[in-house]
């Protein structure tokens, strides 16, 4: 689970990393006294998408009036800004990129740093890969001080700054380690004109597999871009929203992305992806319900299950159709364990079960395009 900036910064503070003085407001609240933060200030929309700056979701205000005006503008920009973090605008000398993540190939933790902070790491990796510093950390042993010192020297730092940044590296690693995090990122890490080292922005991704240990980050609507995605997540059903008109109920991430590709190849567009395999193969009704929340023209069901039995899935689909009475056609391509029984069940319910994925895709695209 990706945390909001203000939550990431709370964790940083807990581990001793300095962050700019700030105050959080929930829509529609705003008080230009800023709880003493002072002016000039920065209004930062607390949403989970990247690229907030470019999207105009971060505003600089010199006066209370300006701040009031920006706050209103952000709350009402239509991009789901329900919370603002307002921070003091420090005097910045330079910006550093710093993160800790995992290296699956090397089987280590990995500290990544770059003296050119403030831009996304993907951009850095593309434009100036030679500037990126990588330090592998044995995950049982943890980071050792000399590793942080090496990074700081490679960043070109000296004296107190070298010590300050080394310390932040150790602290960031400690936070990453303590939470079993997927990613702990400070970008930018500010070096202020008075040589303080301050986390200007923060990204913190907690591994979903350990999330239950942190009830303070319980799943809320605010973490999702749409109601359907939130509802699906609450039900434990992987779900992604797109803007096409073909709803997918597929089994397995690999098969789903493949069907997604095939639909695009045929000129179709996907409305949503929904995982109907794994532990969810008995939940056809709930899955179909979620698909029907979309403004779609067809539901395409493609599976090739092993444990997820084809006959059980087919029964579930028929039951769901009887209860939900969908007003869009349903195309099925259900294979795997007990597939013969599945075919009988679907046929008995009046469906025309297909057996070939490409054929099923073509049919769904044709229906969506009004050609079938």
């Amino acid at each position: 689970m990706k945390l909001f900036e203000f939550q990431a910064k709370e964790i940083f503070e807990k581990f001793g990393i300095e962050t700019p003085k700030g105050v959080v407001f929930d829509k529609p609240e705003f008080d230009s006294k800023l709880d003493g933060v002072g002016y000039p200030c920065v209004l930062k929309s607390q949403i989970l998408r990247g690229g907030r700056g470019k999207a105009g979701l971060i505003k600089f205000a010199d006066t209370p009036a300006e701040a009031e005006s920006y706050a209103a503008e952000l709350y009402n920009c239509g991009q789901g800004v329900d919370r603002l973090l307002v921070v003091e605008k420090g005097k910045i000398k330079s910006e550093i990129y710093l993160s800790v993540t995992l290296d699956p190939a090397a089987a280590t933790a990995l500290v990544i740093a770059c003296a050119d902070g403030g831009v996304e790491i993907e951009t850095l990796a593309k434009d100036s890969p030679e500037k990126i510093i990588r330090e592998r950390v044995d995950i049982d042993r943890g980071i050792l001080p000399f590793q942080a010192v090496n990074i700081a020297f490679q960043l070109g730092l000296e004296g107190d700054l070298r010590k300050g940044v080394s310390k932040v590296i150790m602290q960031l690693y400690a936070a990453f380690d303590a939470y079993g995090a997927e990613l702990a990122e400070i970008n930018p890490l500010f070096i202020t004109t008075d040589d303080k080292v301050v986390a200007g922005d923060g990204k913190f991704v907690i591994d979903d597999a350990v999330l239950a240990k942190y009830p303070e980050y319980s799943m809320g609507r605010e973490y999702f871009e749409s109601d359907a995605e939130f509802e699906a997540a609450v039900d434990g059903i992987p779900y992604l929203q797109f803007d096409g008109d073909i709803s997918l109920m597929c089994a397995g991430a690999g098969l789903t992305t493949t069907v997604y590709d095939l639909i695009n190849d045929e000129g179709g567009k996907v409305a949503n992806y929904l995982e109907f395999g794994g532990p969810n193969y008995r939940r056809a009704k709930r899955a179909m319900e979620l698909c029907l929340k979309n403004d779609n023209k067809v539901i395409l069901i493609v599976t090739f299950g092993t444990i997820a039995r084809a006959d059980v899935m087919a029964e579930g689909i028929v039951e769901a159709m009887n209860e939900l009475k969908p007003d869009v056609p349903i195309v099925t391509c259900i294979r795997g364990t007990n597939e013969e029984e599945a075919v009988e069940i679907l046929k008995a319910a009046g469906l025309e079960p297909l057996f070939d994925t490409e054929e099923a895709v073509r049919k769904a695209v044709a229906i969506a395009g009004g050609k079938a």
Binding site: P104, A209, A253, T258, Y260, N264, T303, R335
Partner: protein, 294 residues
Amino acid sequence: MSIYIEKDTKVLIQGITGKEGSYWTEHMIGLGTQVTGGVTPGKEGQTVHGAPVYNTVRRAVAEVEAEASMLFVPPRFTKDAVFEALDAGIKKIVTVAEGIPLHEAIQIRSAALSEGAVVIGGNTSGVISPGQAMMGFFPYWIERVYKPGRIGVMTRSGSLTNEVTAMVVEAGFGVSTLIGVGGDSVPSTRFAEMLPDYQNDPETDAVVVIGELGGTMEDEVAEAIADGSFTKPVVVFMGGRTAPEGKKMGHAGAIVSGGSGSVADKTKLLESVGARVAKRPRLVGELLKEVLGD
């Protein structure tokens, strides 16, 4: 022949008395797998489908032969179970659990690497040498997928594997050994690390890799081809060719990619070293015919 597991491989089942463990033990034996024993703390003295149950892996290996261990253990106990098997000297371990905590997955892979063990998983159906033996849950009775033959298959997926393998079979081939390295973002063993075994297996003619967007596992396969360590034909299929940027589609993918992780870039790299990349599952069979001269 086959790699990793064959009909004589002696297999232990950790978590054998559980519902899943017991059910799939029966099927593993059904295919011909030599299950020599099982482990569930507190259940020593019982038997499951003829296999004697022990309290600990140490107890089991003291009593029966075992060179491999199959784990039917929930994700949060997987690290402990893997280390217990390693501690007892077992070098082949398959774990099907989905959702092993990432930091623990790193610890598992790190330990396996340093002890020279090959841990397969998590989040996989396991490993099967059709017609011989399996560790995992494969409905091996579905002939049009699990047909014995001379094509090695490696995959990160579940259902997609059936989809693709069915095309391999439809094209007239069969499978020597199918290895599901698992869909988690930190698989314990990576595609390229299994290539030497396929290379040395006289009964594997070519390898099909079912990859995905994200990560660098397919790039590593390209490297092994490029440096000449793997010389048999390779056919690759990857889902996610048209995936929109920024959406986390498919599995978590690698968290840190060396390259861009896009299917387009991977395709370019793989084709540059001579691997064939299929745009659609059906084409995997066609390309195999081409490279093997039908």
